[in-house]
Assembly symmetry: C2
Homo-oligomer: 447 residues x 2
């Protein structure tokens, strides 16, 4: 197929149906079998000949991307993310071997209950079915996401950035070869190549069980609005740091700088600093450190007054109401004085995106109230919001971060790709034999 062929929606449906069917060969393996596939994929990525071919495909993508960069059509961060290297491939191999060794999620019942003698109910974890994953320019995402799908017995439709097309093709082909070499149906993993094919995929709510959207907030919102399929992805990260009375100035400044500056585009970076009147020393320490890092500060009148004597105070600009609901994703921070804990909770309730919220204070009672009352996936005391991450939480491979509340919340590991079925084994029992005046259920838990 040439780069320019766009398949029509019927073709994409056929791809999804083939994938769903082929995925059953993955699901039918036991944990050891799926671990074997993951190890074989790691071996293939470590193989010198295959590696040369992968790097050659990536070099062609890179050459095209550098041309586009020179013409101002692609930004350099995106070009950098596109590059594969021996080091990146080594890291991928390590990740796949770790995933192979991680605990098995499927098959072992999480509940066993005798409804009656000879009528056994089990709740058994199983794959979701078919995943649709749309991701950014990084081609190393292909083996990572394929690894997650293999671990959890799911079929996979992938759509990567157009800049990485040749790399993605080569990596997908390699993964499919590994499946075929182990007697599995390679159609369980398929690559979509054109942007138009995403829209076709999002229509397939009868074939695809979960869409994972990685990319900008606006892209994730487009995906969420365009499909009836459940979407795992965070469209927004509007996180706050609240300095309460007795916030230690140096500690507050360290946290504020890390939470704003270590990766401003991250969803777990802060956008607004709130401070109580009793935290003015901490506010000043934060403002001083943030200005030194080149952060543009947008402040309420009380904040401006409190910082009037600070060197660089002339660079402060007034915050508008719009600032309290803006995710800058850049070295910009809004700062607002609040009357105290209640007002901070109210501001966060009104403006937060329920991603991650943090308080800095030496007052443990206030901290515990903050931890108990803030409705967000992550609520932190005296720690940077940037810890909100699957790797840092120790979840192993991260599928994504969810700001939804159902199924999975916050950083999501492979257990987010698993559902369960209720299996019932009987000997001819019927429901109308049970009830008032008839047989009673045993409901006896079994080991």
């Amino acid at each position: 197929m040439s780069t320019n062929d766009v398949r029509d929606p019927g073709d994409i449906r056929a791809v999804a149906i083939r994938a769903r069917r082929a995925g059953r060969t993955l699901a039918a393996l036991d944990g050891r079998g799926r671990a074997g596939v993951l190890s074989a994929l790691a071996d293939a990525l470590a193989d010198a000949g295959r590696r040369a071919a992968l790097l050659a495909a990536n070099a062609r993508d890179m050459a095209r991307a550098r041309e586009e960069e020179a013409r101002g059509k692609l930004d350099s961060a995106r070009v950098r993310r596109l590059a594969l290297s021996a080091g990146k491939l080594d890291a991928l191999c390590d990740g796949l071997r770790q995933l192979a060794a991680a605990p098995e999620l499927l098959g072992a019942p999480t509940l066993r209950r005798a409804l009656d003698d000879g009528l056994l109910l089990e709740r058994v974890p199983c794959p979701l079915g078919t995943l649709g994953v749309v991701f950014e320019a990084r081609p190393d995402a292909v083996p990572q996401i394929a690894g997650l799908a293999i671990k959890t017995g799911n079929a996979l439709l992938l759509k990567g950035g157009r800049e990485a097309l040749e790399s993605n093709r080569a990596l997908t082909a390699l993964t499919r070869e590994v499946l075929a070499a182990r007697g599995l149906d390679p159609d369980a993993i398929a690559l979509l190549e054109q942007r138009e094919e995403i829209a076709a995929m999002l229509e397939l709510d009868d074939c695809i069980d979960l869409v994972i959207a990685r990319g900008s907030g606006s892209f994730v919102q487009y995906v969420q609005r365009s499909t009836k399929i459940p979407v795992l992805g965070h469209a927004e990260g509007l996180c706050h740091l609240y300095l309460h009375d007795d916030a230690a100035p140096e500690l507050a400044a360290r946290i504020a700088v890390d939470a704003k500056c270590s990766y401003p585009a991250a969803c777990n970076a802060i956008e607004t600093l709130l401070w109580a009147p009793g935290a003015s020393a901490a506010l000043e320490a934060c403002a001083r450190a943030l200005l030194a890092e080149g952060v543009a500060l947008r402040v309420c009148p009380q904040t401006r007054a409190a910082l009037a004597s600070l060197p660089g105070a002339d660079a402060l600009t007034p915050a508008s109401a719009e600032d309290w609901r803006t995710e800058y994703g850049a070295l910009v921070l809004s700062i607002r004085q609040v009357a105290g804990l209640d007002a901070a909770l109210e501001h966060i309730e009104q403006h937060g995106s329920r991603h991650t919220e943090a308080i800095v204070t030496a007052d443990d009672a206030a901290a515990e109230r903050f931890l108990a009352e803030v409705d967000a996936a992550g609520v932190f005391h005296n720690a940077s919001t940037r810890f909100a991450d699957g790797y840092r939480y120790g979840l192993g491979a991260e599928v994504g971060i969810s700001t939804g509340k159902l199924h999975a919340r916050g950083p999501v590991g492979v257990e987010g790709l698993v559902t369960y079925r209720w299996l019932l084994r009987g000997h001819g029992q019927v429901a109308s034999d049970y009830g008032p005046g008839k047989r009673a259920f045993l409901h006896r838990e079994l080991p």
Copy 2:
């Protein structure tokens, strides 16, 4: 407020915001506190004076409903469901006391992990926030659903059938009084009274966390299409019974009759019977028993041929392709011969609604393949599909049945009304201190 006042969408938003805020007073209680509220609600429902007032309100609803029934505007099944009685109120009291005694779901961490010394991560179950529940004519649903919300610390917006308005008002007022008497904000539970208010509620995806829709399939579908809020509700139950080789005729017939006839309108009733050529004796036993129960059979040509000599065979009508995708919800059953297990799996994959599927066979290997491969919330061997029910599964109070795969699948108990938050307590740690060449995470599990 008179019966005819319709509040505008802004009013409904205000009701939802007040409920969300008030719900925090419920969420802030410990398990014992919430159990106390449930017991107090049971006491109030047992109180003779309050009971008389409730039954009087219900009598007014019943009088109006009987008039409508006489004019042919309301069917008698609906009128019957509307009636409250001392017996129903006693059963409600029992249910609430059982819920009070059931294990507490909130607060106790389900994971505790030291990310580093002095940096403690916990995953803590918490309420979803605010529930919107739209239900059918039965007024006894008000205290049932309010009980589930109280148990799980959630605020609640309720909308019941218009026939039950006075009963629902009286029951809601009683529940709110019980909340207020225990120092809680009664606005945590609010009743919507007009159909138009449902549409306004479904717009509030920033205030309401989960919608539970009970009612007809078409109503649930309307709700699902009309909101961005996650919906718990089953729009379809197209369940199959498959007779494989060596299906014992008498056992097959018992299951088929129970699965079709014990409550044909239920979502877990079967709509299609599939049979392998090796199960012709079982097919005949099933057809004979189903005809005796007055079930209309729509059959494929092979089935017609196999049943040609059966008394009553002249009543069989030909099945069309439409029959394989029809949820009759009535004493009608389609019957199709399939070549064997693979063809049965294929038919179910193509036409099933992923609710509940059953196989009848003495061949355990075939049964285990069926149990392993069918993608449905419930997969049964030698048992009626009608067991797919929260009460029969022993889940305690049932919130609903989910044919979705995320969050909760099949019958859903109170744990479906709970999510979790990640709490992190530190001493000034920042994420950029960790990583290659810097500090390593401990990730030590704690009890």
